[in-house]
């Protein structure tokens, strides 16, 4: 499963997410929010990370897939909200996130809603291209 094209990666990830969240694969589209649309909880995020690691034979370092380090950086979080600089930083790491929507009310507590299937596909594609180089 290492030398995959983007379409294969997307297919595998959609299947993993559908199995982990027990939803129909057709619902796990690139734009689907894991929490808002597919009902993911924290245990599911852990499950998905472990399944991705096993399926793609990679190690996902802590803080890479989900921007947890950013949340403890005072430059990027103020009064429970992600700052403009924080949103720019998030856009760099996950260009396909629904950042315009998030920017309207950038509460830290809303951040989970923007994790989409597409963001995971972007991350894994990038990760595998690095591994294959």
């Amino acid at each position: 499963m290492i030398n995959n094209g983007r379409q294969d990666i997307e297919k595998t990830i959609r299947s993993i997410i559908a199995q982990a969240l027990k939803v129909d694969e057709s619902k796990a589209t690139l734009g689907s929010s894991l929490i808002k649309d597919l009902g993911a909880e924290s245990i599911d995020f852990l499950d998905i990370v472990f399944r991705l690691e096993k399926s793609f034979k990679i190690k996902i370092p802590k803080g890479e897939l989900f921007p947890e380090k950013l949340l403890t950086d005072a430059r990027f979080v103020k009064d429970g909200r992600i700052t403009g600089a924080g949103i720019e930083e998030l856009k760099k790491s996950s260009p396909n996130g629904q950042w315009d929507e998030f920017s309207k009310n950038p509460l830290v507590s809303n951040l989970g809603n923007i994790f989409t299937v597409g963001m995971i596909v972007d991350y894994i594609s990038e990760k595998l291209s690095t591994v294959n180089q």
């Binding site: 924290s42 245990i43 995020f45 852990l46 990370v49 897939l65 989900f66 947890e68 830290v108």
Partner: protein, 112 residues
Amino acid sequence: MRQSIGVDLVEIKKARSFYARHHRSLADFFSASEIAFLKKSPRPHERLAVLLAAKEAVFKTLSLPWMGHSGFESIRLVPGARGRLGCFFRGRRFELTYGVNKNYAVAQCVGT
């Protein structure tokens, strides 16, 4: 003094399936004492559900989203006598209570 509360539920069925599939990876985000707390039980998946619900309840108390593996790891649950749990996060102590029935583990966290 302002107090905040966080409550979380984890489905036992989900925890059982997670434990069966990933029990060898628990050290990625649980401390040795948390794993010992879990393995002391004849039904470790129930304790897994308690630990996950407790950590999520701490996030909710602080209005933080789920913060990935390292967020979970940074919350240290301290098992005490008779199955009690204490909690430390970012230098603060939180009060935790929990309960389990056949369907769910529920944890409640109070922070000041």
